[in-house]
Structures are given as C-alpha cells and as structure tokens.
C-alpha cells in the first residue's frame, strides 16, 4: 500500500518485557477492523485519498446520510469516518476490510488524537511559565504571568501573546512511535510511549511521515 493507516481507540498504558528483561512502556490501542468507505479520486474530488470507517454501531445511532453513504459499499453503520491522503490507492477497493495486520512490529508510526481538555488554564500550566517569586513579601504573584507589554510604546498588547485560556482538546500528533506489538486476532496494537487523548478516544495511526535517525541505527 502506498500508505499504511488505520483507526483505533486508546485502551490504556502498560509495560512489556523483552527477552533481555528490558521494560518498554507501551500504549495499547484497539485498532480496526476498518472499512474502506470511499476512494477519493483526482477526477471526481480533485485529490486522492482513502476514507476509512471504524467502529460498528447500531444503525439507529447513525444519521441517514451516513447510512446511505456506507450502504453504497454494503458497509455496516460506523461511528467514525476519517480520510488518509495517499498518492495511489489502486491496491485498495471500496468496501475492503483492513485490520492491524497492515503494521508489523518495529514499524514507525505517527499517532493523531485529541488531547485531554484542561479547561481554562493559567499561564504556568498552559505555557510553562515560571510564575512569580514565592517569598520576599509577594502576594498573589505565585502563578502570575508577569508583565504583558511595555508602556506608551507600543501602547498595546501584541497579538499572539501567550496568556491564560482554553487548553487541550485539540488535535495532537505524536510522531515516530515504534510499533511494539500487533495482534490481528484481537485487533490490538501497542506502540512504544504515550499517545494523546483520553482512554476510549479516537486515534488515527499512520505510517510515520518522517523517519528518524534512531530507526536507521536499529
């Protein structure tokens, strides 16, 4: 396949031992089975991509437009539909089922998820500011942002200045995670390290865009 990708759900984290007794922290992902819901083509859509669907649900829980779209390829009702941009999808056919078998142990993947929402967060948590001094007669300065601008020049606060506000709940990509385990029978995938989002959250797993030096060394 031109590009490997699959959709999954975060299950949680644990650790596994290898034969030498080295411990690897891993995130377990329940990935697939996914269905190719649609192939976007240059002629019809202006770009090429593969639309994958994941997680069967009761038909009564899906919208009718979605059911109609899936019915074109006799697919069951699915909760999620996500697109993967690919150059060439000639190897895939609409309606085809994909499982975690597209990946193998040792592959490098990028994992995309929605980070946990932190609500309205201050500047220390949100931007890693140091806060103010704790002693020497300070009051109310512990987690304060400090000065936000100068006086008459420029006479305003610059746009984009890092301040308190909504944090989390945004799309986050973690690149170059190593696949530590693949189990097509149970639709399980484990990647080394942490992955964005809460448990049960949707994850997009795709082949790593950038390959790091560490892979070549291994």
């Amino acid at each position: 396949m031109a590009m490997k990708g699959i959709l999954g759900k975060k299950v949680g984290m644990t650790q596994i031992f290898d034969e030498q007794g080295e411990v690897t922290p891993v995130t377990v992902i329940e990935a697939g089975p996914c269905y190719v819901a649609q192939k976007k083509t240059l002629e019809r859509d202006g770009y090429t991509a593969v639309q994958l669907g994941f997680e069967e649900i009761k038909a009564s829980r899906a919208t009718k437009p979605k059911l109609g779209h899936l019915a074109k390829n006799n697919l069951p009702a699915l909760r999620y539909l996500r697109e993967f941009r690919v150059e060439d999808h000639s190897e895939l056919s609409e309606g085809q089922k994909l499982d975690v078998g597209v990946f193998e142990v040792g592959d490098r993947v990028d994992v995309i998820g929605t980070s946990k929402g932190r609500g309205f967060a201050g500047v220390v948590k949100r931007h890693g500011f140091g806060g103010g001094p704790r002693t020497h007669g300070q009051s109310d300065r512990l987690r304060a942002p400090g000065a936000i601008s100068s006086g008459s020049t420029p006479g305003r606060v610059y746009k984009g200045l890092r301040m308190a506000g909504r944090m989390g709940g945004s799309r986050v990509t973690v690149q170059n995670l190593e696949v530590a385990l693949v189990d097509p029978e149970r639709n399980l995938l484990a990647v080394k390290g942490a992955v964005p989002g809460a448990r049960e959250g949707l994850l997009v797993i795709r082949e790593a865009r950038k390959t790091s030096v560490s892979k070549r060394r291994r």
Binding site: V11, G12, M13, T14, Q15, I16, F17, E19, Q20, G21, V23, V26, V28, E30, L181, D183, R186, L188, A190, R199, E200
Partner: protein, 118 residues
C-alpha cells in the same frame, strides 16, 4: 468490546507462576546476568524489606548485609525475565509492610523473629 483492563492485561507478559512473597521473608533471588554474550545466574540472598506495585509493575526490594556491615539493597521487578526464580528460605514475624527500620540497625537488633504458621 472487551473490558479495557482485560485487554491491557492480555498484552502484558506476566509470569504464570510467581512466588508468594511477604515482607520479612529471607529469599534467594536467582538473577540472570548477561556479560557480553555469556549468560550466568547470580544469587542474591537477603531479607525482603518492601513490596510495592501491582500486576506487571510489582517489585520487591531485597536487603543484605555485605562485608564490613555495609548494607546492599537491590530492587527487582517480580515479572522480569531477569528474575529467574525466587526461593523463600524463611518467613519472619513482622508488624509492618515496609521494613525500612532495618536500615538503621545492625547485628543483634536487625534480627527478625521467625514465623511458623500452621
């Protein structure tokens, strides 16, 4: 969908059989050590002074007194393949879960009363 805990547990390579350790136990831990490409088994004998964690993360600390009264503590992951076998030699009657007070003691005061159940 299966329960998340079950799914995670199914991935963990837990040992099928682990010794039932308790704080105060005197144990012999058979540790696999790889030196270059040669592998040998080292035995660490001492008192279990702490057990912490659960599941695959469970670990225990063994304290022994080496030469000149210098205490040596080593912590092992119970499910690690490096821990080949743990022999329990002796149980002791102790009244707490962590026996850190043994660090301040030596000689006679560092003894533990043996437990004989049943």
């Amino acid at each position: 969908m299966a329960n998340a805990t079950d799914l995670i547990r199914s991935v963990e390579n837990l040992k099928e059989e682990v010794p039932n350790l308790a704080p105060g136990d005197t144990v012999k831990v058979h540790v696999r050590i790889v030196e270059g490409n040669r592998e040998r088994v080292q035995i660490v004998q001492g008192v279990v002074i702490s057990i912490r964690g659960s599941g695959i993360n469970k670990s225990f600390t063994v304290r022994r007194t080496a030469s000149h009264g210098v205490g040596v503590e080593r912590t092992f992951l119970l499910h690690s393949p490096r821990v080949e076998r743990v022999e329990v030699i002796r149980n002791a009657h102790v009244r707490r879960a962590k026996l850190y007070y043994l660090r301040e003691r030596s000689g006679k005061s560092a003894r533990l009363r043996e437990r004989r159940d049943q």
